[in-house]
Symmetry: C2
């Protein structure tokens, strides 16, 4: 079994690569290193079953060279930051929608039929039903990021219907844990490291978010692909809980033993397209026998400790 | 009030242009004439309030030159044929998704905030609830065409949230009437003109479809834009009825006074991604005070008569 992982040098991708190698698979990893980091692949590159390709998904020719003789694709490469869409409206279109089209088209041309895709709870926009189930009403997109991920989902589904692909779509809450490199835990940690006396918070701190620990996320994916129930399988992934941004700040500060003065930008959204309440209904994935091992609080603490042990990460970015 | 119409030389676009000019507006029409036809603009080009631009929406520079100093955009240009997606998977991505992104991005750069978009009932995939309301459950796409239109909707919605655009999205059933140039009424007519003795039908003829007459469609759009209820306004457009493909065949044959031998390809779908039952819930648009003047049968007859009076069209395509 030969597996192709896009975004293999990223947070989720590199953790998945390590797990797949540990489980005995042959893995080809593809990454343009725009946000990924080879240090995350230190373990993998010493494994003879791993091949790293430095390539961009927008380079159709290069992708076509390496995405062949593959049994299964994990497509994790993406612009993963929901916040910066309005500053560069083309980025989500290119790095998410068009990149995903390229992956699917090369798969089709090379007769590869199985794909896992990392989608997001952001595809629900501002859902009216919370916790939000997979079959909630037709959403209205509220961010370029969510819109692009939703477009990717549509492409996967259409390729499944047209070309008999087996598709797994996972809509993630924010993922935390080892190699976490962006999002507000990262930003808060970095800010407090630089100046423990104050912390500036986008929005009013009352935004409610849900998080999932990276190893729990990978467990869920690997379990779900063993149990396809249709050609297109869609699962929310998250813990059955949420916290306020203020909660995560208090956990971080307690762990770091700092007491900053908090300064709020105000408003119920941290940025344009920010969703003030993300909490996904995860009954569907739980019905397969999965449940997360770590709470949100556990995940935040583990992430802070990882960042403390890997100072290069906060210096680097 | 200066209006920009993409796809101005197409079936719906040219009818809309004529109506807007009749209503006294200044209109700039943009079309690459890949499927549009200048004969549809014979009336318009003689009107001093009309400017025609031969341009492609994928040509960002050219679009930027002409899509400026505009109050309102009707974005109708598209690859409009759901059937041929699997033969050229890139077409819907480019002509629908990327083209729509270009329109939105040029609007943003030129500070234009109002847009009407022609979407489709195909975005519902194979809906579980029929007639299908706008807020049905999160659909699974079943065609590259539907996926691309759904991606366009997401882009419009995200631009609305991020940049304060006013957006109207109309999800059409098949539109019929003057200047109709593709779809199965056209194909049946053309085939019967060439050989009235036999007619080959994709699928089993029992596919159930809904249709709307072009002038009823335009009435609905022009009414809805006067009554925005939010930044993003989404409406199904169709008649409150459907027919079998076999019904439309019998109406066409009766009108043409032919009795062909019918030969069915078989199966409940005419092609990959064909939806065996499209029937939209149109209560929302009807609540604004609109109702269609023509039945499906009326629309089919009117279309057949138009095709008979415009032989050049079936010879041309």
């Amino acid at each position: 079994m030969k597996i192709f992982v896009t975004g293999c040098a990223g947070f989720i991708g590199s953790n998945l690569v390590d797990r797949l190698l540990y489980d005995g698979y042959e893995v080809v990893g593809y990454d343009n290193l725009s946000t990924g980091n080879m240090r995350f692949l230190e373990l993998a590159v010493n494994n003879p079953r791993f091949t790293f390709v430095n390539g961009d998904l927008l380079d159709f020719e290069r992708l076509s060279l390496y995405l062949r003789d593959i049994d299964f694709v994990y497509h994790l490469a993406a612009n993963a930051d929901v916040r910066f869409g309005p500053n560069n409206t083309r980025r989500d279109l290119e790095q998410n929608t068009i990149a995903t089209y390229n992956v699917l088209e090369v798969m089709r041309l090379n007769n590869i039929k199985n794909i896992v895709f990392s989608s997001t709870g952001s595809v629900y926009g501002e859902a009216k039903i919370i916790p939000t189930p997979e079959n909630c009403s037709f959403p209205v997109q509220t961010s370029l990021y969510g819109a692009s991920k939703s477009a990717c989902e549509g492409l996967l589904q259409a390729f499944s219907e047209s070309f008999d692909f087996n598709v797994w779509i996972f809509r993630f809450v924010s993922i935390l844990g080892e190699r976490y490199t962006h999002g507000h835990i990262f930003d808060f940690y970095k800010s407090l490291k630089e100046d423990p006396s104050t912390l500036r918070i986008l929005g009013n701190g009352k935004q409610r978010k849900s998080y999932l620990y990276i190893q729990d996320c990978i467990d869920a994916i690997l379990l779900a692909i063993l149990q396809p129930s249709a050609k297109v399988n869609i699962y929310n992934l998250g813990v059955d809980d949420y916290c306020e941004v203020n909660d995560s700040i208090s956990w971080i500060c307690k762990e770091l033993r700092v007491e900053p003065k908090l300064s709020y930008a105000g408003g119920d959204r941290g940025w344009i397209g920010d969703n003030p309440f993300i909490y996904l209904d995860t009954k569907k994935i739980q019905s397969l026998g999965w449940s997360p091992k770590l709470t949100i609080n556990d995940g935040v603490i583990k992430t802070v400790r990882y960042l403390q042990e890997n100072e290069w990460l906060t210096n680097f970015r």
